[in-house]
C-alpha cells in the first residue's frame, strides 16, 4: 500500500497518522506539502487532523482551496482511496467529496475524550477488519464535529448505507446521551458514493498502539492495508 499524507499549514496530526500507517504497513507514507500540485502515485491519500490555515474562516474551508486539493479531488474520482480524519473530514465536506457539514459542537466547547463507535458496515476497504455492529473505542478531539445534512441527503446516506460509524454506548445503543457533539443520527463518519472516500471525526490513529491505552483504531489502517496491498 502506497500512502500519502497531505500536510497543510496548521495540520497537527500528520505525524500521528504517519506513525499509525507505518505501524500497520511497515512503510512510511509520503508527506505531501499543501502547495504541491500533485500527490505522488498512491493507493491511499490521508487528510490529517489539525487546524489547517488556523481554521480561521471555517474549519477546512481554506484547505479545500489549496493547490493540492485539486489533485486529491481528481484522484478520488479516479478511485484512489481517501481518508479524512477530523479536520480532514471537514476539508472533504468543504470540497464536496463528502456531503454535509461539520458545525460547532452542540456544547459550543472543544471536546477531547474516548468515545464508543458502532461499526455500521464491514464490507468496505476501511472497515473490513471490524464486524458490523462492533463497538470500538476511539478518541475525539474537536470543536466542530456536529454533523449536519439536509433531510434528503440524510435519507440518501442512510438508504445507501453510507454511514460508517455512529456514536453509541458500550452496548452499541445509539442515543442522545451517547452523542458527544450534536451530530444528526449520531453520525461520526460517512462514505462517499463509491465507498472509497471516508471522513470521520474520531481519531483512529490515537488508539492504534497498546501503550496509548487501546488498539481499536488500528483496524482502519489494517483494513486499508488488506484492501489496497
Amino acid at each position: 500500500m502506497k500512502a500519502a499524507v497531505v500536510v497543510f499549514p496548521g495540520s497537527n496530526c500528520d505525524r500521528d497518522v504517519a506513525v499509525a500507517l507505518e505501524a500497520a504497513s511497515g512503510a512510511a507514507p509520503n508527506m505531501v506539502w499543501h502547495g504541491a500540485s500533485e500527490v505522488p502515485d498512491s493507493d491511499l491519500i490521508v487528510l490529517p487532523g489539525g487546524f489547517s490555515y488556523g481554521d480561521y474562516l471555517r474549519s477546512g474551508a481554506m484547505a479545500a482551496h489549496s493547490p493540492i486539493m485539486r489533485d486529491v479531488v481528481k484522484k478520488a474520482g479516479d478511485g484512489v482511496a481517501v481518508l479524512g480524519i477530523c479536520n480532514g473530514f471537514q476539508v472533504l465536506t468543504e470540497t464536496g467529496l463528502l456531503p454535509g457539514v461539520l458545525m460547532r459542537n452542540a456544547s459550543l466547547k472543544f471536546v477531547c475524550r474516548d468515545v464508543r463507535l458502532r461499526v455500521e458496515r464491514d464490507d468496505t476497504i476501511f472497515a473490513a477488519d471490524y464486524r458490523t455492529g462492533d463497538v470500538i473505542t476511539i478518541p475525539i478531539a474537536h470543536h466542530d464535529g456536529n454533523y449536519f445534512a439536509d433531510p434528503e441527503t440524510l435519507d440518501e446516506l442512510e438508504d445507501s448505507g453510507r454511514v460508517a460509524f455512529r456514536y453509541c454506548d458500550q452496548a452499541g445503543t445509539v442515543s442522545a446521551e451517547t452523542n458527544p457533539n450534536g451530530s444528526q443520527s449520531n453520525i461520526a463518519g460517512v462514505y462517499d458514493k463509491s465507498g472509497r472516500v471516508l471522513g470521520l471525526m474520531p481519531h483512529p490513529e490515537r488508539l492504534a498502539d497498546a501503550a496509548l491505552g487501546g488498539t481499536d483504531g488500528a483496524g482502519v489502517f489494517t483494513s486499508l492495508l488488506g484492501a489496497l496491498n
Partner: protein, 739 residues
C-alpha cells in the same frame, strides 16, 4: 557618546513622565546618572520595562540565589529561555513555567492563550519540540461574581491555543479560593524534547552578523504589558484591557515548524523569542549574553499598523515573534524556510563591536545606550521582610470528628477543591502527538519520548493554604508534592521549574512569605537532589492592598526509563492487597477536612520530613520498577479515605478496608494530611513487601483489599463506587452550567 535625539522631541522626558512609566524617583535619578543626560522617550520606555519587576526580578533576585540550580543532569539552569535536563541517549527535556496572571484577569481568553503561546516559544526557542503543556490555575471563590466567567474564559483560551498548535495539554491543577477573587493566577508550563547536541541559546556571539526578525508583524498590542504585570490592581483592572496581547496559535504552529526546520541545519548563532517587552528585551538579552552591541533599523521591522513610533515598536508585545542572529550568508536559506511557512522574515540589524544598543527610526537615532547598562543596571532590592511565627500544631484529638463519616467523604469528594477536573481537561486536546501514555486525572501526566520506550512524567503543584499558614513548610511541601507525584508514576524526579506568585513585595509581610517559601523550597530541593532549572516570579498580585495567598507553583519533570514499569492510580483487579506506606500522625491542621467540614483554617500545616519522604519515595519507585505493584497513588489533599476513593473511582473496583486498631482518632486517620505517604496495590507478596519496608525504616500497614463495587469502611459505613463517582464528577459541570 552619541546623543540620541527623539523624533518626538516635543515630548520631553520629565520626572512625572518617568513616574507614569512606573519608575520611582530614585530609579529615575539612577537612570539620569547612568546616561549622563535626559533619556529620549523611547529610552525611557525601554528602561522602564527592563527595570520593571517582571523583567528585572529586582525584588526577588537576591533570594532566588538561594535555590539550588546545579545537578548531574542539568544542562542549562536558570538564565536562559528555559531549563534543560539530560534524559540520556542524547535526549534532553527543555521546560519552564510562567505566569500570565494580570492579563488573564483582565481578558481571560487572550490572557491565558498568550500565556500558553509565550511559554511554548520559550521552549522551542531552545531547539526543543514542545510535547506537553501543563497549567496551574487559581480562581476566586465559586460564589464570586467573576469566577465562572474567568474559569470559562481561561480554560477556553488555554484549549484554543494549545489545541490549535497541536501540543497536548496533559496536566495541571485548578483551585478555588476567595483569596484569588480579584487576582486569579494562570501559570502555564511547557515541556519540550530536544537532542543534547542541538540546544540553542540566546547569545549573539560575534560581530557584524545579521539580526533577523521572524514571525508575526508588529502591532500596537501589549505595549507596557510587562509594566502592567508589575503593578497591583486598584479597581481599574478593566481599563487595562488594551495592554493584553492577542494570540494567533496558527502562526505559532508555523513558527515552531519553521524554527525547528532551520535549527536542523547550522545557520543559527543565537535565537530569542520576543516575550515581555518584545524587541527591547530580546535584543538586549542576546547582545548582553554575546558580549556585543546591536544596531536595529526599526524601519525594517514588519509592521501591522501604520505610523508606529520607535517607542511603540520597541515596546510592543505582539505575539509569535522571534529574533535570531544568523551566521553570515545564511540569510537566504533561512528566508526560504520562513517564506515556505508563510511567515515574515526581515533582516532588521546587525551585531556590532560597540557594546551599544542603537535604534534608528526614519534616519534618527532614537536609542543609544550601552547594552551592559540596559541588561545589568536594574536596581536590586533587599526589601524588608517579616515572617510571622508558625502557628502551633493542633493535636488530632483536639479536632472534632464529623457528625457522619459517610457525609464527610461525600462532601469532600464533591467539593470544589477535590471534585473531578474532567470538565476542564476534556476541553484540552490531551492526546495529540499520540504519545500521551498517562492522561490527566492521575498523580502526574506521562508522555512517551517519541520513538522510544522512555516516559517523561510531569506535574504541577502547590498547596497555598499550607503556604499561608507557614511559608517555610508550605514551600517544602510544594516541592515534596511534585516529587511524590512524579515518583508515584515510577518516574525518577529530575528537576523543577517554579512560578512564584505573591502580592506586593514592598510590604514586609508579603516579602516574608516570599522569603519563607524560597527557604522551604531550597531545603526540599537539596534533600531530593531536585534542582530548579527555570522559573518566573510574579509579584504585585494584589488588589486594593489585599494580596493573594502565597502561591509558589512548582512544575516538575521525571524520567521513566521503561514505560513497561509505569504505575497509575487505577486499581487493576479484585482480590489485591492495599498497603499504606509512610507515617500516620493524623495531622488535621490546615486540612481539607477542617476547611470543608468544619469551615476552619487553623494550626500548622502538616510538616514534611524530607528524609522520610525521600526514603519512602525511593522505596516506592523501586517497587514500581521491579513490577511488584499494580497501582500507586500518593496520599495528599483530603487524606487516606479520599485517596482510596480516587483509586476506586478510577477503576470501578471497590475496596474493603481493614479495621484500624491504632491510637489515633478514626477521623484523623481517614482525613489527616500527613505527608510522605503512598497507597500501593499488590497482587501478591504482602508480607514480603511489608518486611522490606520495615527494614528500610518505612512504616507499612495493610489498609484493605480490593473487590466488590463499594468503598467499605465497616458494615455500617460504606459508599457505592458509582455514587462516589457521580458526585465526584458533578460539581464542576453543574457549577459551570449555571452561567
Amino acid at each position: 557618546m552619541a546623543t540620541a535625539q527623539s523624533s518626538q522631541s516635543a515630548l520631553r522626558v520629565t520626572p512625572e513622565l518617568a513616574s507614569e512609566h512606573g519608575l520611582t524617583g530614585d530609579e529615575y535619578d539612577h537612570l539620569l546618572d547612568i546616561l549622563g543626560r535626559e533619556p529620549t522617550l523611547t529610552e525611557l520606555g525601554i528602561f522602564s520595562v527592563m527595570w520593571s519587576e517582571h523583567c528585572s526580578y529586582k525584588s526577588s533576585k537576591f533570594w532566588l540565589r538561594q535555590l539550588p540550580t546545579a545537578g548531574e543532569r542539568v544542562i542549562q539552569g536558570p538564565g536562559e529561555n528555559a531549563g534543560v535536563v539530560d534524559l540520556g541517549d542524547g535526549d534532553a527535556a527543555v521546560f519552564k513555567m510562567e505566569s500570565h496572571n494580570h492579563p488573564s484577569f483582565i481578558e481571560p481568553y487572550q490572557g491565558a492563550a498568550t500565556g500558553v503561546g509565550g511559554i511554548m516559544r520559550d521552549v522551542f526557542t531552545m531547539g526543543a519540540r514542545p510535547v506537553a503543556n501543563l497549567n496551574a490555575l487559581r480562581f476566586g471563590a465559586p460564589g464570586h461574581e467573576k469566577t465562572r466567567h474567568l474559569v470559562a474564559g481561561v480554560v477556553a483560551g488555554i484549549g484554543g491555543y494549545g489545541n490549535c498548535v497541536g501540543v497536548p495539554t496533559v496536566g495541571g491543577e485548578v483551585n478555588f479560593d476567595a483569596g484569588y477573587n480579584n487576582n486569579i493566577l494562570v501559570n502555564a508550563m511547557c515541556v519540550g524534547l530536544a537532542r543534547t547536541d542541538k540546544i540553542f541559546y540566546a547569545a549573539a556571539s560575534g560581530t557584524d552578523l545579521p539580526v533577523v526578525y521572524v514571525g508575526s508583524k508588529t502591532g500596537r498590542d501589549g505595549i507596557h504589558g510587562a509594566t502592567m504585570a508589575s503593578a497591583e490592581f486598584s479597581g481599574d483592572a478593566d481599563e487595562k484591557r488594551p495592554t493584553v496581547q492577542v494570540g494567533d496559535p496558527f502562526t505559532e504552529k508555523l513558527l515552531i515548524e519553521a524554527c525547528l526546520e532551520l535549527m536542523a541545519g547550522d545557520a543559527i548563532i543565537g535565537i530569542q523569542d520576543m516575550g515581555a517587552a518584545g524587541l527591547t528585551c530580546s535584543s538586549v538579552e542576546m547582545a548582553d549574553k554575546g558580549g556585543v552591541g546591536i544596531e536595529l533599523d526599526i524601519d525594517r521591522v514588519p509592521a501591522r499598523e501604520e505610523a508606529m513610533t520607535a517607542y511603540e515598536m520597541m515596546l510592543s508585545e505582539s505575539q509569535e515573534r522571534m529574533v535570531m542572529v544568523l551566521k553570515p550568508g545564511a540569510e537566504k536559506q533561512a528566508q526560504a524556510i520562513f517564506e515556505k511557512w508563510g511567515l515574515d522574515f526581515a533582516v532588521v540589524g546587525r551585531t556590532t563591536d560597540t557594546g551599544r544598543l542603537v535604534v534608528r527610526h526614519k534616519g534618527q537615532v532614537e536609542v543609544d545606550v550601552p547594552v551592559d547598562v540596559l541588561a545589568n543596571s536594574a536596581p536590586e532590592y533587599k526589601r524588608a521582610w517579616k515572617l510571622a511565627d508558625p502557628p502551633a500544631v493542633i493535636p488530632p484529638e483536639e479536632v472534632p470528628g464529623p457528625e457522619s463519616l459517610t457525609d464527610a467523604l461525600e462532601t469532600l469528594l464533591g467539593s470544589s477543591h477535590l471534585c473531578s477536573r474532567r470538565w476542564v481537561w476534556e476541553q484540552y486536546d490531551h492526546m495529540v502527538m499520540a504519545d500521551t501514555v498517562q492522561r490527566p486525572g492521575g498523580d502526574a501526566a506521562v508522555v512517551r519520548v517519541h520513538g522510544t520506550s522512555k516516559g517523561l512524567a510531569a506535574s504541577a503543584d502547590v498547596t497555598p493554604r499550607y503556604c499561608t499558614a507557614d511559608p517555610r513548610e508550605g514551600g517544602k511541601q510544594a516541592v515534596a508534592e511534585v516529587w511524590r507525584n512524579l515518583t508515584a508514576t515510577g518516574a525518577l524526579p529530575l528537576a523543577i521549574t517554579d512560578c512564584l506568585n505573591f502580592g506586593n513585595p514592598e510590604r514586609p509581610e508579603v516579602m516574608g512569605q516570599f522569603v519563607g517559601c524560597i527557604e522551604g523550597m531550597a531545603e526540599a530541593c537539596r534533600a531530593f537532589d531536585f534542582p530548579v532549572v527555570s522559573g518566573n516570579v510574579s509579584l504585585y498580585n494584589e488588589t486594593d492592598g489585599k494580596a493573594i495567598p502565597p502561591t509558589p507553583a512548582i512544575g516538575g519533570i521525571g524520567l521513566i526509563p521503561d514505560l513497561d514499569a509505569m504505575a497509575t492510580i487505577a486499581l487493576k483487579a479484585e482480590g489485591e492487597t492495599l498497603l499504606l506506606l509512610g507515617s500516620e500522625r493524623g495531622h488535621l491542621g490546615q486540612s481539607l477536612y477542617m476547611r470543608e467540614i468544619l469551615d476552619q483554617a487553623r494550626g500548622a500545616p502538616p510538616p514534611v520530613d524530607l528524609e522520610a519522604e525521600r526514603r519512602t519515595g525511593d522505596f516506592v519507585r523501586g517497587l514500581i520498577g521491579e513490577g511488584s505493584v499494580t497501582a500507586v497513588h500518593d496520599v495528599s489533599d483530603g487524606g487516606l479515605l479520599v485517596a482510596l476513593a480516587e483509586m476506586a473511582i478510577a477503576s470501578g473496583i471497590g475496596v474493603a478496608m481493614a479495621a484500624y486498631g491504632g491510637p489515633l482518632p478514626l477521623h484523623a486517620v481517614l482525613f489527616g494530611e500527613d505527608q510522605g505517604r503512598y497507597l500501593i496495590s499488590l497482587a501478591e507478596g504482602e508480607d514480603e513487601i511489608i518486611s522490606r519496608a520495615m527494614a528500610a525504616g518505612i512504616p507499612a500497614r495493610t489498609i484493605g483489599h480490593t473487590g466488590g463495587d463499594e468503598l467499605r469502611l465497616s458494615d455500617e459505613v460504606f459508599w457505592p463506587i458509582q455514587q462516589l463517582k457521580d458526585l465526584h464528577e458533578a460539581w464542576l459541570p453543574d457549577y459551570m452550567k449555571s452561567i
